[in-house]
């Protein structure tokens, strides 16, 4: 096996693994579909590498077919996402888990602490009041919040 084929195969394996990890870990539906596309691209790469190795065109032909099917799936997937988004206004895959064993409780997402960057600025204490020990956060709407200990 020549090095180029080997390298291509390794790249395909890597991309395939990345695709799987993406499919398993991303919660955004669109990104999940993109992960599948990534896996398909890896497969196409495999076919092309082997096709080049054997110097026949069946590998390339298969890659063409995969490409086409991938775009079919993309079309359907996007339409599905649009329709789902219209219904629940979220791209979260876990929002669609109403069909489950009946006695199970809803798989409520335990909200991960939303570690938004807390933008805190040192502010001057208004005149006539005691200086605050705790920092003050400026929230998005510009109001001043005093964080209590």
């Amino acid at each position: 096996m020549n090095p180029a084929t080997f390298q291509t195969l390794m790249l395909a394996a890597t991309l395939f693994a990345i695709g799987i990890v993406g499919f398993l870990s991303r919660k955004n539906m669109i990104l999940m579909f993109l992960s599948v596309e990534l896996m398909l691209a890896a497969v196409a790469m495999n076919f092309i590498a082997f096709g080049a190795h054997y110097q026949n065109y069946q590998g390339q032909l298969f890659a063409v077919l995969i490409l086409t099917i991938a775009s079919c799936e993309a079309a359907i997937g996007l339409a599905l996402v649009v329709s789902l988004f219209k219904r629940k206004a979220t791209l979260d895959i876990a929002a669609w888990s109403d069909l489950r064993e009946t006695d199970r409780e809803a798989n409520v997402e335990v909200p991960v602490e939303q570690n938004e960057p807390i933008e805190s600025y040192p502010v001057l204490t208004p005149a006539g009041t005691d200086p605050l020990v705790n920092p003050v956060r400026v929230s998005k709407d510009g109001a001043l919040d005093t964080l209590k200990a």
Binding site: V36, V43, N46, L65, T102
Partner: protein, 483 residues
């Protein structure tokens, strides 16, 4: 483009599929000229499409029956042999039954698309059985799964339907990527996409890549036959789809998956070094599948979910038949017989319960079956027969199905298979628990319908389908040699 004689010859083995595709395209074209008036949405309009496609299916089946030659024909993509012939029969049988089931229930608004896609899907199944090349096999499998997504989404348009569509679509895409990965490795070892060449090349090569390719391909197909651990979607998708579609999902992808597996296991040319791995893999999958299916079916209270899990369990039995095939290197008869019996009895059961809640997609509870025999004799008896068949009681087709599997397992005298057979017997007993529960409910004296007028039971086509399936199982027992 030059159409050569050879290209036309390529059509012969796939004549039913091509006929179905052509009919589907014509249906779509007719749909173009359908006046977009309010009347278009009424029910009888929807019936026309269903009757039409049923007629198409029957005509194609009939003409194929009378014209099909016994000549083995092979082209680069398709081939006729015993497997493809019986597989195509199976596809047409399942297609007819499912179409009959949809007569009252197709969404009238998209009836045209619905039925043409159903035809495409059956054509896809027929093509799977005739495929002799990885490319055509893959495309045929996609020709099943892509229309399935469409069918799922238009046959039920509430949130549950959407969710079912999403789950089926996403996981099917995922599994088909895995199938392709395995296929690409097999291609890499063989240098050809022809399945024969592929199987031969693997036979000559015992590298790890062959194992991995093989396992990935089987895993990708295992999704279609709802084997553990690729089964999760089944119960969710079944309960989120309309009943005819649930019936379709429990049969068509399963047939496709098993036929593809038979093709790829390849029989005698399979590498001897690969056999133990394949055997262990299959038996492990099968045992896990049937146990999980049966145990989970035991705790269900809704018919559709119960059927989803029972269909998982039946997949487990069939996979054992497949494993036996690996050891014996014998014919694929047991698998095909089981599939045929399974198609008949499952669709019969679905048809029966679909009459109960024909107008809503509310799920049919097991309680709804109470005392059905006393209110609707025909339906009750037919459902009971289907259930008996699912258990595998003699006097029904299900008996022969299980018998064939057991025979396949016990004949080679392999210890592993013997163990699997014992395990399957235990599982069949577990399965009998919930089936007998259904039987008792059906024939109990307290009826769920005492205070409910039976106006909902006006779904004549479904009742006829159910009765027909019940008769088929009985007749099959008397005439077991028809396969």
């Amino acid at each position: 483009m030059i159409i050569t004689q050879e290209m036309l010859n390529n059509l012969i083995p796939v004549f039913p599929a091509l006929g179905l595709i052509a009919a589907g395209c014509i249906l779509l074209a007719i749909g173009l000229f359908q006046a977009p008036s309010p009347q278009a949405a009424n029910e009888s309009h929807g019936h026309g499409w269903a009757w039409g496609s049923l007629a198409v299916l029957l005509v194609i089946w009939g003409s194929w029956l009378f014209s099909s030659t016994q000549v083995e024909y092979a082209s680069s993509l398709f081939r006729t042999d015993l497997l493809s012939r019986s597989g195509t029969h199976l596809a047409l049988l399942a297609g007819c039954l499912i179409t009959a089931l949809t007569i009252n229930k197709a969404p009238s608004r998209h009836a045209c698309e619905f039925h043409s896609c159903l035809l495409f899907l059956i054509a896809g199944l027929a093509l799977v059985t005739a495929s002799s090349n990885l490319t055509s096999l893959y495309l045929s499998l996609e020709l099943i799964s892509i229309p399935t997504v469409l069918l799922l989404s238009i046959s039920r348009r509430d949130n549950a339907g959407r969710e079912a569509t999403l789950k089926y679509f996403a996981l099917s895409a995922f599994s088909s990527a895995i199938f392709l990965m395995g296929a690409s490795y097999l291609f890499g070892l063989a240098g050809t996409t022809s399945i024969d060449g592929l199987v031969r090349a693997i036979g000559a090569n015992s590298s790890t890549m062959a194992y991995i390719g093989f396992v990935l391909v089987i895993a990708g197909l295992a999704f279609r036959v709802t084997a553990v651990p690729f089964h999760f979607y089944a119960s969710d998708v079944f309960s989120g789809s309309s009943l005819p579609m649930a019936a379709m999902l429990s049969t068509i992808p399963k047939i496709a998956g098993f036929v593809a597996m038979i093709k790829l296991l390849g029989g005698p040319t399979l590498n001897a070094a690969l056999v133990p791995v394949a055997l262990t893999t299959l038996i492990l999958l099968a045992l896990a599948t049937m146990t999980l299916g049966n145990c989970l079916a035991l705790v269900q209270s809704q018919c559709r979910k119960l059927l989803a899990y029972s269909s998982i369990a039946h997949s487990g039995y069939i996979m054992l038949g497949l494993a036996a095939l690996l050891v014996q290197g014998a014919s694929s008869r047991a698998v095909l017989v089981y599939l045929a019996a399974y198609v008949i009895m499952t669709i019969g059961f679905f048809a029966g319960i679909s009459t109960l809640r024909a107008r809503t997609d509310q799920d049919v509870e097991l309680n709804d079956l109470n005392g059905l025999t006393s209110t609707n004799l025909w339906l009750g008896i037919s459902l009971s027969i289907c259930v008996l068949s699912l258990i595998g009681i003699p006097i029904t087709a299900g008996f022969w199905a299980k018998f064939e599997i057991f025979r396949g397992l016990l004949t080679p005298g392999d210890r592993l298979l013997l163990f699997a057979a014992v395990f399957m017997a235990i599982n069949a007993a577990i399965g009998a628990i919930y089936y007998v529960d259904i039987l008792i409910r059906l024939n109990s004296s307290t009826t769920a319908w005492k205070n409910v007028s039976l106006t909902t039971l006006t779904d004549k086509p479904a009742i006829v389908t159910c009765v027909f399936c019940a008769c088929m199982t009985l007749v099959w027992f008397i005439v077991p040699t028809w396969m």
